[in-house]
Symmetry: C2
Subunit: 231 residues, 2 copies
């Protein structure tokens, strides 16, 4: 058999990429959701997604789809996993590769995203999504919790300067439960990745909350090294 | 646009599954490798792989391909990642989903595997593999090291009863470097997942090495919980 006929006999599949984009804003972990404007599925909510084209890598497809759909560019996306059940998409057999990323919402053009029908929704606002997109979101959150357990987290999501309550808030959003203030403070400071600044955030109280920033070198070293963060 | 024409306009792709199957035997971490018997690529070495068919899930495709190619069945495979570069396969554009598994070689029919042209090779014996299969192997080893760092490892690879030198040997194979005996012993015992048996392995010395087995309940709890194993 020639190489060409070997390949010619194999079935071909539609392959999609779906992007799970997390941001953090106003104390809420948010997900970028599309409300589809045109048929098919007009009005339905979904992740940002599209088909892999002939001559593009799947990683590039994810970057292109995100840019075309939301205007967001220049971010790094990690693969989550492939979703390959034969009946997962109601319209046809589509194999989907899910990607995820954590971004600072403020650094990306929100108006542009909205022009495309893209919206940032906090986790408890997420509606029923098409196909298995809710499952993808659950899996991505699971991955995020795993990351928070073994590696430092926050650099991609928080502003450069943040208070401890803000950082705790982020972890509370990821775990979807309240965390003990003193315990969190003790454990996060013990990581030795925070640099205390001579500034305060006075937006939430008169006394104000000290601002911190990540010591990038220590943060990266701890990312490399790993730990178990018990909360 | 109808749902049908929406899908009709999208490009279709060949989708393969490739299986990275690790086993542990004679003190060596081994990989299941195929030497292809028929054209195309007769004589070439590759991972166990094949195309995803029309109506099967990608997870099932991996299980089927492994069974048909090697006779190995009833094992659980994890997804590693998707390999989707447009030029990764010399013959055609193929998107590959890599899966990996850890198995006990003794529990699977070695003759059957060999009839199919499948061989267990230790890591330093692995030849040049087709396409990006060597990269897949590197990534799978990386994943294995990550698992060994944050979770207990060995249950799927070792016989039910094993000595500490055997267990250390497995870690040495995964990390591809020698580990300090006393340090390893101290750290692995501190995990409190091993049950010391009243038997000795006398195959390697007159004095013999105590045999252990995993306390499955503690092993599973620690798998759930995680830790950092520094070696």
């Amino acid at each position: 058999m020639s190489l060409a006929s070997f390949y010619a006999n194999a079935p071909r599949h539609l392959v999609a990429v779906d992007c799970i984009i997390f941001g953090f804003e106003d104390g809420k972990l948010k997900l970028l959701i599309i409300q589809r404007k045109v048929d098919p599925l007009a009005g339905a909510f979904s992740l940002v997604g599209g088909f892999v084209q002939e001559n593009e890598s799947t990683d590039h497809a994810a970057i292109r789809v995100l840019r075309q759909t939301t205007g967001i560019r220049d971010i790094f996306m990690d693969q989550l996993r492939a979703y390959g059940d034969a009946g997962r998409d109601a319209g046809a057999r589509v194999i989907s590769l899910a990607y995820y990323a954590l971004i600072r919402i403020s650094e990306h053009d929100k108006l542009l995203a909205q022009q495309h029908g893209a919206h940032w929704l906090s986790l408890h606002q997420i509606p029923e999504l098409i196909f298995d997109h809710n499952e993808m979101l659950r899996d991505a959150l699971e991955r995020l919790r795993d990351r928070a357990k073994f590696h430092p987290l926050g650099f991609e999501l928080l502003p450069e300067k943040f208070s401890l309550p803000q950082l705790r808030n982020l972890y509370e959003e990821i775990y979807q439960r309240p965390l003990d203030k003193r315990n969190f403070r003790k454990k996060i400071l013990a990581m030795d990745i925070l640099e205390k600044l001579d500034e305060k955030d006075k937006s939430t109280s008169k006394k104000g909350a000290h601002l911190y920033r990540f010591d990038r070198k220590k943060y990266d070293a701890l990312t490399q090294h790993g730990f178990v963060f018990e909360i």
